[in-house]
Symmetry: C3
Subunit: 157 residues, 3 copies
Amino acid sequence: MMSIEERLDIHDLFADYGTCLDEDRLEEWLELFSADSSYKIVPRDNYDLNLPVTLMLCENRNMLRDRIVSLREANQFSVHRDRHLISNIKIKQSIESEFLVTGNYVVYQADREGSGSLFSFGFYDSTIIFVSEKPKFYSMMVVVDNWAIPHMLSTPI
Amino acid sequence: MMSIEERLDIHDLFADYGTCLDEDRLEEWLELFSADSSYKIVPRDNYDLNLPVTLMLCENRNMLRDRIVSLREANQFSVHRDRHLISNIKIKQSIESEFLVTGNYVVYQADREGSGSLFSFGFYDSTIIFVSEKPKFYSMMVVVDNWAIPHMLSTPI
Amino acid sequence: MMSIEERLDIHDLFADYGTCLDEDRLEEWLELFSADSSYKIVPRDNYDLNLPVTLMLCENRNMLRDRIVSLREANQFSVHRDRHLISNIKIKQSIESEFLVTGNYVVYQADREGSGSLFSFGFYDSTIIFVSEKPKFYSMMVVVDNWAIPHMLSTPI
């Protein structure tokens, strides 16, 4: 059984997840993951068919950190800004101190001229653990419904 | 007065509602309704003007089950997949053990090639009861803001 | 430290905020603000650069009331209807009895023919106080990501 505080804290974790990405605070976003965590982005079709091909794969947090460092070097001036809406967060199961949590997302992007459009939607399939009483992502799989987007690969979703 | 657990459980019910539809688990979705429940989809204009015309009307759960069975037979291969975002969930009133609950929704659809777009948005106007301590929809009215969509009639929203 | 009730009540405040706007209950929406509250709408670029230019500025609730009265007189027949999705609500800080709360939003609009589209997205940056145990907005800044929209100025978001 999980407590009400844990339920609400898990919701807050997803709010932080989105906000850090939206505000381009990627280093802070990294802190939402546990030390031995994994992160990947998968097209919905591959997820349904259990195919191993990913759009992004970081098997541990160091790989994720490398990715962020190279993003910082490549994108001196980011052209688009993200806006995450995350809802339907559901704690499906808690096995000992591990929580299986899903949620749906949509991301909009605006350019520097203030024009915006739908960028991506799909769902999060995550495992969350509590480290020093704070929730952290132990694994995060982003499953993208509209995966046919050319510039999707570069940044986390 | 309702308890915090009841408030959170009602939020979870809406998360399940969306996820079951998104994952095409329609039979499981049906279990979110009480035995004597009703389900209808109404264009926003008709709702505002109190007109009786609906886009879908199931006056009890058997009708809803029939609808799902015929969907299964008609759509051997579903062309689109849904993604529900549900937010602004508000328990407006609780009369004895009945809760009047509203929420806003948006549904995106992706096709098999991974192209996605906005499908529908509007709100839910529902009555929820607790059966064996689990929340169930006793009535669900989906009010569609953008009702001028040709292929809207076939599936639940 | 804030209580669980306060956390949930703040979530409800945002649900009410969206619903009042969506249902064109602007006078009721005004009641969600404290007597000495401020309201403004800011383009994301100006927010980031700390520029003072706003899209709408009401420095107290009377100014906001005036705005609503003039909206009522100007728009006898509103052409568009809004639908707010608000998520990622996060209570970032509580200083004595003041809560700093952010949230992301997207607004869709439908016209009278039932055609709908994305209208605006961005985030809320608010201060919330409790007046007679009910949460009220003491300040609300709406930061618009896609600010290049010609008809954005007229109504609250």
